[in-house]
């Protein structure tokens, strides 16, 4: 059908077409490569122009809110109340972290809680050498482990704080602190010591922080030492102490002095398919002053200024099961005991028990469902108008959401 001439012509035409196509593709490729190169050059220039600098500023923080329902029974008389946003446990606390290189860190956490705007801490840390961090400012003092490490709503396993432990003695103060951690063999140790402006003894026997302008030279000395005996850090035992003078020179409280002790425990263990967590703290507050002034009628009254507070908490979570819903559930229970000075105006013996079911929406977001029962027995003396032995039982249910951002 085709002659040789036709065949050659056809082949030549085909080859010419292929060469032409290749040339067009090559030209297109060159155009694309050129654009890419220009873009890469621009990005490289942009990256070279951008100086990350030594400083870095970020905002983190947390918020906790929810619903609480309370039923209190005193001498057979019941009173009920409930609150949206769970007034006692609502918190909105953005935390500002400002890092200067690898040595300095400024931390500031304003907090809207209990209907008031306050400050949780405002301090600067200097990472001096390995194992030595020096901090100054308004900070949480090293006494026990709860207030400094565990009180945040997204960390706490229950919707409420253990009574007394979270707020007695007052632990946020103007202070200078030195702290650090180190290893000896396969064990770890940590230390945390501070000198603070200190506390003042009120005429009725209560204590409060001296604040920015104390009226005396007194200082508060406190510290905690932590021991992690096992290399997997599964157990930490802490021992804390705090002491300081509490009164102005020349006043009736000039010899008043505090002696406070605390022990704390943290234990984590995998018990497949569960994760077990036990935490606890027990503290003793002693003030050597016994004579005070009744704020109601200015009469003198005496009592032994001795308080104790403690809790033990256990939580169990099936972290190692496959089911995605089940592995995010956690069961927690806590027993607490809080005793304020007998025969004081605020004397009481509280026993509390709380049980809760948590659902972890993410590693830092939790929904707490907590039931808590507190049995409070009055120890206010009859001389002060009290009725020793009167008991009030308060049963509460909390549904609470907490997130760290």
């Amino acid at each position: 059908m085709f002659s040789k001439k036709h065949t050659y012509a056809f082949l030549l035409a085909g080859i010419a077409f292929l060469i032409l196509q290749g040339s067009v593709i090559a030209q297109q490729t060159t155009v694309v490569d050129s654009a890419l190169l220009q873009r890469v050059d621009a990005l490289e220039q942009h990256a070279a122009d951008r100086k990350p600098g030594e400083d870095y500023f970020m905002v983190a923080g947390l918020t906790t809110f929810g619903f609480a329902s309370h039923t209190a029974t005193t001498n057979g008389v019941k009173t009920k109340s409930n609150s949206i946003v769970d007034g006692d446990n609502y918190e909105f606390s953005p935390m500002l972290l400002w890092r200067h290189g690898q040595k300095f860190l400024m931390e500031f956490e304003p907090s809207f809680a209990g209907g008031q705007l306050g400050v949780n801490w405002a301090d600067i840390s200097y990472f001096a050498t390995p194992g030595v961090i020096i901090r100054a400012g308004y900070l949480v003092l090293p006494f026990g482990s709860y207030s400094k490490r565990l009180a945040a709503g997204w960390i706490n396993k229950l919707a409420t704080d253990p009574e007394g432990v979270a707020d007695q003695p007052p632990l946020t103060d103007y202070a200078v602190e030195v702290e650090g951690g180190f290893q000896t063999g396969t064990m770890k140790w940590n230390y945390d010591v501070a000198i603070a402006n200190g506390m003042q003894l009120n005429p009725d026997g209560t204590i409060q922080n001296a604040g920015l302008a104390p009226t005396n030279n007194n200082k508060n000395y406190c510290g905690r030492i932590g021991w992690l005996p096992f290399s997997n850090s599964s157990l930490e035992l802490g021992l804390s102490g705090m002491t300081g003078k509490l009164g102005d020179p020349g006043s009736s409280f000039q010899s008043a002095k505090s002696a406070m002790w605390a022990v704390d425990l943290n234990f984590i263990q995998k018990l497949s398919p569960f994760q077990l967590n036990i935490k606890g703290q027990y503290e003793v507050i002693d003030i050597n002053q016994t004579d005070y002034i009744n704020p109601i009628d200015s009469s003198n009254y005496s009592f032994s200024n001795h308080s104790t507070a403690g809790y033990i908490m256990a939580a169990l979570r099936p972290s190692f099961v496959q089911n995605k819903v089940l592995k995010n559930l956690e069961l927690a229970a806590r027993y607490g005991n809080y005793q304020t000075p007998t025969n004081s105006l605020w004397g009481m013996k509280d026993n509390s028990f709380a049980i809760g079911l948590n659902y972890w929406i993410s590693w830092r977001t939790v929904l707490h469902l907590t039931y808590e029962s507190i049995r409070s027995e009055s120890t206010i003396s009859t001389n002060l108008g009290g009725t020793p032995g009167t008991t009030t039982t308060t049963n509460s249910v909390y549904l609470q959401f907490s997130i760290q951002l």
């Binding site: 990350p52 870095y56 970020m58 983190a60 972290l97 890092r99 690898q102 860190l105 931390e107 840390s125 990472f127 390995p130 194992g131 961090i133 901090r135 490490r149 565990l150 997204w154 960390i155 702290e179 650090g180 951690g181 180190f182 290893q183 063999g185 396969t186 770890k188 940590n190 945390d192 932590g226 005996p229 096992f230 290399s231 997997n232 850090s233 599964s234 157990l235 930490e236 035992l237 002790w261 022990v263 425990l265 943290n266 234990f267 984590i268 263990q269 994760q275 036990i278 606890g280 027990y282 003793v284 002693d286 001795h306 104790t308 033990i312 027993y335 005991n337 972890w360 590693w363 830092r364």
Partner: protein, 92 residues
């Protein structure tokens, strides 16, 4: 301190410490390792969960992890080696 040993709570705490210590003796001693021999991932798993759940590395940027590492070192009183290894792992 005078009421320390008379208080029901103190007995519970002491018992718990004893139980936990004995338990840990059986469980914790089986894997004694120095920090220098551990990976960042292992230290992350062991230390973060002492207080809270272990964070996902994707949660924060590199610069943020460096900053948070300093913040957490002062809270949990980690050693410097632990902080450096954990932050290096979280930056990956």
């Amino acid at each position: 301190m005078k009421c320390f040993l008379n208080n029901k709570m103190s007995i519970i705490v002491i018992m718990t410490i004893t139980i936990a210590s004995v338990s840990a003796l059986f469980v914790g001693c089986t894997a004694s390792q120095k920090i220098t021999t551990k990976s960042g991932a292992q230290l992350w798993a062991e230390n973060c969960q002492r207080c809270h759940n272990t964070p996902s590395p994707s949660t924060f940027s590199h610069d943020q992890w460096v900053t948070i590492g300093m913040h957490m070192q002062s809270r949990a009183l980690l050693t410097d080696a632990e902080r450096e290894k954990i932050v290096a792992f979280l930056k990956q």
